[in-house]
């Protein structure tokens, strides 16, 4: 047995693939399979055991999977399919083959550039004068890719930075003046999930040192992926990792409990439907926060899609890996489900859900349109 095979058998073992009972529940729950694409996590798993990962079915599978985690959630045997896919991608990358990226791999170029020690970004320009931030301190707000998204997806007219601006306003309102770094490096979530583990480790090291150099002890973030990356992946590669990671929803929930006048939230007489993020609901098990917060906004009427209770349907893409007909089909399904609720507003947790659904609505959706807004901005609307 070569080292290469050994590596594969270790992956199979550690992700519990041998434990598969062949019940097919993963496939029955999979958004990709539901588009009609021949796609079965169960079958792919047994193919890997039988034929290794160079089997054509497996190779297609590796890059078509959304790693949304719905199969992991359903699997009675506790098989870690998403991580299995991630590790197979990693083998692919390590063997020198290029990954199957969307947007020409531009996002990955950005992430890798940001891992250069010498880089000095200039990304704080979006912060309005009335928002108070610090350049050093214990609490940091981690912006994430938002400024880059606004430039890169200019044609979609997204104004993604409003998520950060509104987050900062909320923090100020909670008497927190957070650090925002001009040279904030990417959280590396997508590098990790696209299989570039070495690239992630390099980026994480630079990022962590930078953050620590600014005296930071706690990171607050509004992005589910940044939240997941810092709380789950960083500790795997950074020895002695000791940053407290808080998602802004936790902070808002806590503050809502503290404030006697419920933040003085004003009436928002709207009907809204919710879109969960995979990283929050499947990976961090915190899908309730979105509901708790939106439930506190006076006048806001929440109408959920039928799937929301059993774990939301994917936004069609993750980690900037692939984006083809099945992604669009998933996005259309998700949009149609939102439209069917008759809501005025689709509220998202994750910036990427927002981008993906907005893109599909603009280019493909003839069934009507719905305003898409992130939860933080909606909350800030009620706060003004």
């Amino acid at each position: 047995m070569t080292d290469y095979d050994k590596d594969l058998s270790l992956i199979i073992k550690e992700t519990g693939i041998y434990q598969c009972l062949d019940c097919g529940k993963c496939t029955g729950a999979c958004p990709v399979a539901e588009t009609g694409k021949p796609f079965s996590p169960r079958l792919a798993a047994s193919r890997v055991i039988e034929k290794g990962d160079s089997d054509p079915y497996v190779q297609d599978f590796i890059w078509a999977c959304l790693t949304c985690g719905r199969c992991d959630d359903r699997c009675p045997s506790g098989v870690k399919f998403s991580n299995f896919v991630r590790l197979l991608r990693s083998r692919w990358i390590d063997s020198g083959k290029p990954g199957v990226y969307s947007h020409g791999g531009a996002m990955f170029s950005l992430m890798r550039m940001m891992s250069s020690p010498g880089i000095r970004q200039n990304r704080k320009g979006f912060i309005p004068a009335e928002v108070k931030t610090l350049s050093e301190g214990k609490v940091m707000y981690f912006v994430g890719c938002l400024p880059y998204f606004d430039v890169f997806f200019k044609n979609l007219n997204l104004n993604m930075v409003r998520i950060a601006v509104n987050s900062l306003k909320i923090l100020n309102r909670c008497n927190i003046e957070p650090v925002v770094l001009d040279n904030e490096r990417c959280c590396g979530h997508d590098l990790f999930w696209a299989g570039d583990q070495k690239g992630f480790a390099r980026l994480a090291k630079e990022s962590y040192e930078d953050i620590k150099d600014h005296g930071v002890e706690e990171i607050i973030t509004s992005c589910p992926e940044c939240f997941y990356s810092f709380s789950e992946i960083f500790p795997q590669v950074i020895e002695g990792f000791d940053l407290k990671i808080t998602h802004i929803y936790e902070l808002i929930e806590e503050q809502l409990k503290k404030e006697t006048d419920n933040f003085g939230l004003k009436l928002l007489p709207l009907q809204a439907t919710l879109k969960d993020s995979c990283r929050l609901s499947y990976y961090k098990n915190t899908s309730q926060a979105l509901r708790n917060i939106s439930g506190q906004i006076p006048g806001l009427d929440i109408i959920e899609t039928p799937d929301s209770k059993i774990g939301d349907f994917c936004c069609g893409n993750s980690a900037w890996v692939g984006c083809g007909a099945h992604s669009k089909s998933i996005q259309m399904k998700r949009l149609k489900a939102s439209l069917a609720t008759g809501s005025d507003l689709l509220v998202t947790s994750c910036p990427k859900c927002l981008i993906h659904l907005q893109c599909t609505m603009k280019d493909f959706c003839d069934d009507g349109s719905i305003e898409i807004k992130d939860m933080v901005s909606l909350f800030a609307d009620a706060l003004d």
């Binding site: 791999g105 531009a106 170029s109 950005l110 020690p117 010498g118 200039n122 400024p147 430039v151 040279n183």
Partner: protein, 135 residues
């Protein structure tokens, strides 16, 4: 020792490529810092490709196309300029000089102009210094 500047020049297949082959015929040397890649049209060099060039350690990228009224494909130079503007905004955020990516155009016989522009571009990049991105 100071590291040498690395410049990537994307040359459109039509007028710029004629200039380039013309340089060879006239024994005009190409600056050692310049690496040339032939593309079918300047518009082929998309934002992701430009970013890829910088990711891999290019200190400057020059897109060499045709004059607008001379484009074989119609809209090449306009699209190239748009891609460059787009990329420059990203370079801004990354803290890299906007002029590290530029567009020039030539008619088929302007070999000498291409040569001097290449030299000038290299000199300009030298004033910026090496890119902070380690490829």
């Amino acid at each position: 020792m100071r590291q040498r500047i690395k410049v990537l020049a994307f040359l459109c297949n039509w007028a710029p490529w004629s200039c380039y082959t013309g340089m060879g015929e006239q024994w005009i040397p190409v600056p050692g810092e310049v690496n040339v890649i032939r593309v079918i049209c300047a518009a082929r060099v998309s934002t992701p490709l430009l970013l890829k060039a910088f990711e891999k350690g290019a200190d400057g990228v020059l897109i060499v196309g045709c004059r607008t009224d001379n484009c074989q494909h119609g809209t090449g130079p306009d699209l190239a300029e748009r891609n460059i503007d787009h990329t420059r905004e990203i370079l801004d955020l990354l803290g890299l000089e906007r002029e590290r990516v530029q567009f020039t155009y030539y008619l088929a016989h302007e070999s000498e102009k291409l040569s001097s522009d290449l030299h000038r571009f290299v000199e300009k990049m030298e004033t910026f210094g090496k890119s902070p991105v380690s490829g």
